[in-house]
């Protein structure tokens, strides 16, 4: 049954970016306000799921030519790499470092290696959620 859901598709296109921006906001704000890699990742994949519902598996795959399983490994690599990086500076495993920098556009901002770890979490959560949904969706 082919239905004409042009309204849904149009709205989805717009809402997708709103959700993504919100997710990125949650991710970046994690260290100071509620949010973080986990919720951010879930919401990002929620945005992609919205596209999946509006269009179909093939279209979305064309839009995001990513194998989400690779995203999982990339995320794990980020997390472990951040944790293990501290060993290079002769401090115990999982020691984070941060400092405040004067950045051109943002002004005085703190940069924190915990962010990199959280990025790993973010990528893993997207990868996991999308892998599960894609796999189940494609199965007969």
């Amino acid at each position: 049954m082919k239905t004409n859901d042009v309204i849904f598709q149009t709205v989805a296109k717009v809402v997708f970016f709103m959700i993504i921006f919100f997710a990125v906001h949650l991710f970046f704000a994690g260290h100071y306000y509620p949010g973080g890699g986990f919720v951010g990742g879930l919401l990002t994949s929620g945005a992609i799921v919205l596209l999946l519902l509006a269009y179909d598996m093939k279209t979305v795959r064309r839009g995001f030519p990513v194998d989400f399983k690779w995203l999982i490994s990339l995320g794990l690599l980020f997390s472990v790499g951040t944790a293990a990086g501290s060993l290079m500076f002769n401090v115990p495993f999982f020691t984070h470092a941060y400092d405040y920098f004067q950045l051109p556009l943002f002004g005085k901002t703190s940069l924190h290696t915990a962010m990199l770890f959280d990025l790993g979490v973010y990528l893993v959560v997207i990868g996991v959620t999308m892998t599960i949904i894609q796999t189940i969706g494609e199965s007969e």
């Binding site: 509620p34 929620g46 915990a114 770890f117 959280d118 979490v121």
Partner: protein, 805 residues
């Protein structure tokens, strides 16, 4: 590692080369190579004879597990030397005999000699070890190699049955013995037998003494085939005859005797030792000799006879323990019992070994061992006949063979018991010589059966397969050597008395020998007309009469019900154990997850409930509780309603929706308890999982999609209520008993100071306790890959994997 260590290990090392020899030198019978070793070892051990004759000992230690006090300590005294000489001497003769007995082409000789050498090494280890753990190790080696040897013809049903039986019985005893050893070593704080013996008086007072003694004795009784553990020995007769001759007459069954003798210095002060060892031995002797008469298979007769003779030796060792209690007597007659035990041990090894070999020859030359088929072989096999006469007459206790002497000494010891009022023995003492006499009469009868039913009477050529003829000379050498020893020891017993018997007896009862003196061992052939001589004459007279009229009274045996034998008991016991464990397992391993959950939850309730009750752990303290607000009450009402809906719902869809309602309510709880991160995550996750539940629901198979209400089951309800109550009580108690302040102050203070963040939850997750998060994302990854694998790599019906990508 001294020479003695290498002597013990040599058979094991030799065993490694046997298969190579079998393959590389296939034209020569492998036994010839093996034969060298026991001869060399026999010579080696003979060199120790002067040492032990002067009551000196040799002790060498090689560390094995020094941190645990377990060493490979070899200890050579008269008793060990006697056994070592028996093992290697008879071992050499048995190997020689087996060269002619076993065919070079038909049999897998490498198996045979590997097992035999393993056994020889293990026996040497048993008799030479001073450390109980090492002793136990070699002890189990003998069980294993004996198991392998009994099942040598493993394609026969009876062989496997016999091997399994002997394994079960002897390993059962071996493990019990290990327990005894451990108890003993805990009492004495050492693993060394010599050191334990030195502490014997102190050990005697120990409350665990009796336990250790009974455990060690059980081990000895199972190995030495005492009542009621003798049942494995007749079935072990399925082994090749050289094995029966070696293991089941001369060596392995004497390991238990050795153990009793070796531990006499430790245990023999106890009256229990005297009673248990003496009575069990004597009863075994009578019982087995009585049963031997009814057997029709020659090897079975010899098996029962072995049991009987071992019982005799055992009872002598038990009675010899009385000597420790009467050290004030001038003429300590009970040492005579110990001497008789040692003497009979030697005698039994010689005549029983030769008798087994004779039976092997008869089997080899006629093709049967059934005495109902044999008869009149005297003229065909004169040498074999002579050998069997010597062996059997010695076993019956007739002069001029060595069995006569030890039987006389046996009677003497038994008669002496009457004269002493000892351990409240009183009038019961008369039973000992009477039983001994009855046992000897039966011994006489079966000895005569072996000789006369086989070699005299009518020759029945139609019943036997081959034409009987004299055995090849090689096969006869070994029994001839043994039979000559029977005669030599019979005529000149004092050859042995100070060379072997005295040192061995001194090792068994060391405490009664004054320093610098020796036991008086003088075995006289003729010592006047005494009670024991009259008893022997009585044995001969009664034996001849009973043997003559055997057909008349032999029917007595038919009246023994076959159902109540020990074998029947063993078989039905095994069967019942198997059936029983099967039934028990089937009863609780139902295969339903529901049952297992019932067990788990019941245990959970019982364990927690009992602990809470026994430790009086329930606390209720409302002072730390926060006030309950309106929002909380409302949410709880919603939560309860949703939960009840899940339970009562008729449709699964309702349950799924209600579960979603529960999840969203929980996230609302997070909101009012001020946990925004949790609330966010809970909302999203609840949505995803509800979607997944709906997916599952959609794909349910049509057949079982009955929309029916859950059946109420009282058991389930009780367990569920129990779990709920227990967990609630636990929660209340835990909340009411806070002993330390929380550590959250640290996080509150340092989140910004040290970690540069303001969201404390997130800082804890990625910084303070980032480790947990690292592995939680790993869990998620594994779950995703698992789902991917399950769906993509499904096995198709044809059994092939379906790899889409």
């Amino acid at each position: 590692m001294s020479l003695l260590h290498w002597a013990v290990l040599a058979p094991f090392i030799m065993a490694v080369f046997v298969p190579v020899l079998r393959k590389k030198a296939a034209l020569i019978h492998t036994g010839w190579f093996v034969l060298i070793l026991p001869i060399v070892l026999f010579g080696t051990f003979l060199q120790y004879l002067p040492v032990t004759m002067n009551n000196n000992t040799v002790m060498q230690t090689a560390p094995w597990i020094p941190s645990l006090g377990i060493d490979f300590t070899v200890y050579m005294d008269g008793l060990s030397l006697l056994f070592a000489l028996l093992i290697t001497g008879i071992g050499a003769l048995v190997v020689l005999y087996s060269i002619y007995y076993l065919s070079k082409t038909k049999e897998s000789l490498h198996h045979f000699y590997v097992y035999l050498l393993m056994f020889m090494g293990a026996m040497l280890g048993v008799v030479l070890s001073d450390n109980v753990i090492t002793l136990y190790m070699f002890w189990e080696f003998t069980s294993i190699s004996s198991f392998l040897l009994i099942a040598y013809w493993y394609d026969r049903d009876r062989s496997r049955y016999g091997a399994l039986k002997s394994m079960l019985v002897t390993v059962f005893g071996g493990l019990i013995m290990l327990g005894g050893f451990l108890v003993l070593s805990i009492m004495g704080n050492t693993f060394s037998i010599r050191e334990l013996a030195a502490r014997a008086p102190e050990l005697n007072e120990h409350p665990l003494f009796l336990l250790a003694m009974i455990l060690v004795l059980l081990g000895a009784f199972t190995k030495s085939a005492q009542f009621p553990f003798y049942i494995w020995l007749p079935d072990a007769m399925e082994a090749p005859t050289p094995v029966s001759a070696y293991l089941h007459s001369a060596t392995m069954v004497k390991a238990g005797i050795y153990l009793v003798a070796r531990f006499s210095p430790i245990f023999a002060f106890s009256g229990y030792w005297f009673w248990i060892v003496g009575a069990v031995g004597l009863f075994t002797m009578v019982w087995a000799s009585f049963n031997a008469v009814k057997q029709t298979d020659l090897k079975s007769i010899l098996a029962f006879s072995t049991v009987s003779q071992l019982g005799l030796i055992m009872s002598l060792l038990g009675i010899g323990a009385a000597s420790l209690h009467f050290e004030t007597l001038d003429d300590n007659i009970f040492t005579a019992a110990v001497i008789a035990a040692v003497f009979h041990l030697i005698n039994h090894a010689t005549f029983k070994g030769s008798l087994f070999m004779v039976v092997g020859i008869i089997d080899h030359e006629t093709g049967t061992r059934d005495i109902r088929k044999l008869g009149g072989l005297m003229s065909f096999m004169p040498i074999t006949f002579t050998l069997s006469v010597i062996g059997a007459f010695s076993m019956a206790g007739l002069p001029p063979f060595n069995g006569f002497l030890s039987k006389e000494m046996f009677f003497l010891s038994m008669v002496q018991l009457i004269e002493l009022n000892l351990f409240n023995i009183e009038t019961w003492a008369i039973l000992f010589p009477v039983l001994a006499w009855v046992g000897s009469v039966f011994t006489f009868i079966y000895s005569m059966i072996i000789v006369f039913n086989v070699f005299t009477g009518k020759f029945q050529p139609e019943k036997i397969e081959k034409k009987p003829q004299e055995a090849p000379i090689g096969m006869l050498i070994s029994p001839i050597v043994l039979a000559s020893l029977v005669v030599v020891f019979g005529l000149f017993p004092n050859l042995l008395s100070y060379s072997l018997i005295q040192p061995a007896a001194a090792a068994i009862v060391p405490s009664i020998i004054p320093a610098g003196e020796q036991l008086d061992v003088h075995i006289s052939f003729w010592h006047g007309i005494t009670a024991e001589l009259l008893m022997t004459i009585g044995v001969i007279a009664a034996g001849i009469l009973l043997f003559k009229f055997m057909p008349k009274w032999g029917r007595v045996y038919d009246h023994f019900p076959g159902k109540v034998t020990l074998n029947q008991f063993y078989n039905s016991g095994l069967y019942a154990a198997e059936r029983g464990s099967n039934a028990i397992t089937n009863a609780y391993m139902t295969g339903f997850i529901r049952s297992y959950l019932v067990y788990i939850f019941t245990f959970f309730i019982a364990a927690l409930g009992f602990t809470m009750w026994a430790k009086d752990a329930f606390r209720y303290d409302a002072s730390a509780a926060a006030p309950i607000g309106l929002y909380e009450v409302c949410l709880i009402v919603v939560l309860l309603a949703a939960t009840l809906t899940i339970l009562m719902a008729k449709s699964r869809l309702t349950s799924i929706i209600s579960l979603g309602a529960v999840g969203y309510t929980v996230s609302l709880f997070f909101v009012i308890f001020r946990a925004p991160d949790l609330a966010l995550t809970q909302l999203v996750i609840e949505t995803v999982s509800t979607a997944l539940f709906l997916l599952c629901f959609y794909h349910l198979p049509k057949l079982s999609r009955h929309e029916e209400k859950r059946r109420f089951q009282a058991g389930n309800a009780i367990i569920a209520a129990g779990v709920g109550v227990i967990v609630t009580l636990l929660g209340i108690s835990a909340h009411s008993s806070k002993f330390f302040p929380s550590i959250n102050e640290y996080y509150v203070e340092n989140t910004y100071e040290k970690a540069g963040g303001e969201n404390m939850v997130n800082v804890i997750l990625v910084d303070f306790r980032g480790f947990d998060t690292l592995f939680e994302i790993s869990v998620l990854s594994v779950a995703a890959l698992g789902i991917y694998g399950l769906i993509k790599l499904r096995l198709e019906k044809g059994g092939e994997t379906n790899e889409n990508e």
